[in-house]
Symmetry: C4
Subunit: 287 residues, 4 copies
């Protein structure tokens, strides 16, 4: 029993082996989460939903059951979490934790459709199953590291974002003044013109709002040419911060693996020494 | 009185503590400016303006009053500006300075709607309130540093921009020749075709002007594939200059903080020495 | 005969001289492949196909013949491939290899139209000729190196791609909730909204699906501004990996060229030594 | 006369002072070329052309006259070009050179409208005036350096461009197969689909051709997500090559300026030595 609990704790809570690869059980759960999210996404499509109604229902039931088993196993194994508290306290702490609540919500959202038949309620519940993606929050360590690296460059980001905002606003004001009375639907107020200026400066360019007067086109050209550099800068800063964080993480993991290997070496040495001592004790004459 | 003036001067004119964080009052003003600009932007939207007329009016009055108080406080505290002139001269210098004039304009634009009822005049004034964003000119040090870094690479920028201009013009001429007689509205002259070529080479691509003949599409493809690199280059140069300026600024701020800490250490040492001297003076026997 | 085989093997299988430039025959074949692919691409266009029917047929026959000759020559020269097997075994190995099968498929697809007249079958065969581009698989060494470099950064790519997926899905869900009932064709389900979110976050922005409600535009703006950085990151990682692989390749080629030159120098020295020995043998008196 | 010729040669042919700034005359000519090109571009717009007919004619005459004077001055000053030939040979060499022929063509295109009244001929001539931009070919040194840097990375560019071509073609073929029979105008042949794939993978995205079937959208999404990295790579390579060339150029210019300063120092020393010698000769007693 204790060994099973320890095994489950390692598989579910540690999540990764010393070399950084996910544990077998964790890898299986990642796959199930991805499949469950894809199923939830696809079942919002009426055409698929009507034709594959039963298959989708079965898939939901299967995923829901797996999530239920996982949830129970996690509660069981939570007793092995580090800390001086009693096993049941640790379990209760896991149940109250954000990740525990998400797990519970996913289980409920996945299994309830089997017991409820009110279609309006069902719809909302079905959408809730998309939150299964939040179960990936367990892998948030990498995301946290990226976030930390981004925060370090906070000053740069604030300056560039402020400049980008000023540019977005200037562009919107210019187009509001030149095109506002001609295309009131698209440029009749600064907030409306802001939609144009965001879609232009991110170079998305849907074409649902575009200047048609000569002056409007001249302003829009100036905004487009001068502004893309500015809007691209935060992207560059974030990307640089990200690659730094990734580099640091790789270095750190290398350190961890080295430390682990050294520990293994010491254990090996100790075992060898013990074996040698035993041999010597058994064969006292050979010395 | 003098301590209040000194306090206000530190809060308003220095603006930032030694560790680079904004002073409390400055932070409050930044918030008010952002809220005032958002209000000004939103009030250009007819739907919001009609439904929230009174609320917008009150918000304007509040922001205007805050800006008025800030303006008076700045004039009062301007006497502590560095320089050998008399207090009133310094105040007059602040009033005439660009930032002082912007402050005055924002106060007038924010408070006038309370006294004027002519709606045409009101409209213009209301738009003027967007210039509250220019009060951010106070934070222009960072912008100036970026500008300086960009100027250092002026030569590179001129070469790339000239190349980009030649490409924009070549693309426009090619499309003018191939599509001009088929789509006269979009490609009937080189300036009209320039709109297409700018929107294409910045990869915005609204779709309001696009070639429809085979030859036009071939030329447009060539322009799009060859040209994006060229138009992206100034962006890259500016981004590199910017990140350099940011790095330099971070280094400089670190230096300043070190110098400040050293000064504090010296003050500490002096205080300790003084205390030790006093103690020795009080307890002459212990020596 | 043996020298011809050796010559063909060097020209076709080595493919490149020691300085990295393609062999004459290989360069000719690259040209023929490019022309054959262009012909195959152009012949799918009905207007060209109807007007230039005979010319296209002749071009196909010519390219097919060249590919046939190349195929036979490759089988012949495959006997010089490294390995302990007999010549015919090596040939059979080449015929069964993926590149050999592609070669055969291209020959068949290029020459069959001359013997078949069923137009439906012809169409399919004609399209098959586009696979002539897969003959470029021979140059896959460079591609493999790039792939290797990309795999090294696999962890970074997985993290960024997972984040990008979460963002794509969040954007799609937000727009599905806000615009789904207004534009059911574009946002009526999450998979449909995903099309919008992919086209927006890659900044392509066709404009066939775009939000029209205020809330939808607000969400779309947030997604566009925050998300482009994220979707651009995998691009940056791949680009960095690519340029690293290219640098490594250039270094390696330099090493190879150096080694080749040293070998040539040794051969030169040996030849000179032999000549000197011969001269000494012929003129024993001069010593 | 000789000093004027020397002065003109320095101003027109050297073009730049030792510190890299353009000579006064050259700067004036750059301005005139820019104005002439803008005038030529604007005069293709019927609305402007009809309203400002006479002003445009006068501007043309003025620019034409300036270019004529410049052309004559260049022929006159060409005698000072380096080389052992006679003055007239050098002049003839300039007249035959590409830049000389462009100068002549610009003069003719700018002045002919004053003597010709046939409107069809006039139109063609007018467009020819846009080639005044080719007079900037004189500044092609920077462009040549960039080109040299790009050529150094030729291998990388060929690999990425080949991969980009394969991707463009694969995307076009996939869409031709899935959408060809539904939207024959946009995807009815691979060349037609190529227009879509180029406009998509450069992220321009006009929206004139976009998939409407589910399968088409799935393929297009895959192409868009996987392909943008690939198409962005040549841009990155060219940008890196460019910034390298620019760095090298800046270093070289610094070297040149140093060498020039050293030469000036030597001249100074020589002059001082001469003055000292003269003074000593005049005042022999002081020694």
């Amino acid at each position: 029993m204790k060994r099973l609990r320890k095994y489950l704790h390692h598989q579910l809570f540690d999540g990764a082996e010393y070399d950084g690869r996910l544990t077998t059980l964790n890898r299986f759960l990642v796959l199930v989460i991805i499949l469950a999210v894809i199923t939830a996404v696809l079942s919002t499509e009426p055409r698929l939903h009507d034709n594959w109604h039963n298959q989708l229902l079965i898939a939901e039931a299967v995923f829901g059951t797996i999530f239920l088993v996982e949830y129970v196993a996690r509660i069981f194994a939570a007793a092995d979490q580090p800390g001086p508290e009693s096993a049941w306290r640790k379990r209760w702490r896991f149940i109250r934790s954000p990740l525990g609540l998400i797990d519970l919500a996913v289980v409920v959202a996945s299994l309830m459709p089997l017991f409820v038949s009110n279609s309006a309620v069902l719809r909302t519940i079905r959408l809730l199953r998309v939150i299964a993606i939040m179960k990936f929050g367990r892998f948030s360590k990498a995301v946290m590291e990226v976030w930390g690296a981004v925060k370090e460059r906070g000053d740069d980001l604030i300056v560039t974002m402020a400049l980008a905002c000023v540019l977005l606003l200037s562009g919107a004001t210019a187009l509001y003044l030149t095109e506002g009375h001609i295309q009131p639907e698209e440029f009749g107020s600064i907030p409306r013109a802001l939609w144009w200026s965001i879609i232009t400066l991110t170079t998305v360019g849907y074409g649902d709002a575009a200047p048609i007067t000569v002056l409007g086109k001249v302003f829009a050209s100036m905004v487009a040419l001068s502004g893309i550099a500015l809007v691209a800068m935060p992207t560059g800063i974030i990307a640089a911060a990200f690659s730094e964080a990734m580099q640091r993480r790789r270095d750190q993991r290398l350190e961890e693996m080295k430390a682990h290997l050294e520990r293994l070496d010491k254990v090996d040495d100790a075992v060898e020494a013990k074996i040698a001592a035993l041999e010597r004790a058994n064969n006292p004459r050979h010395d």
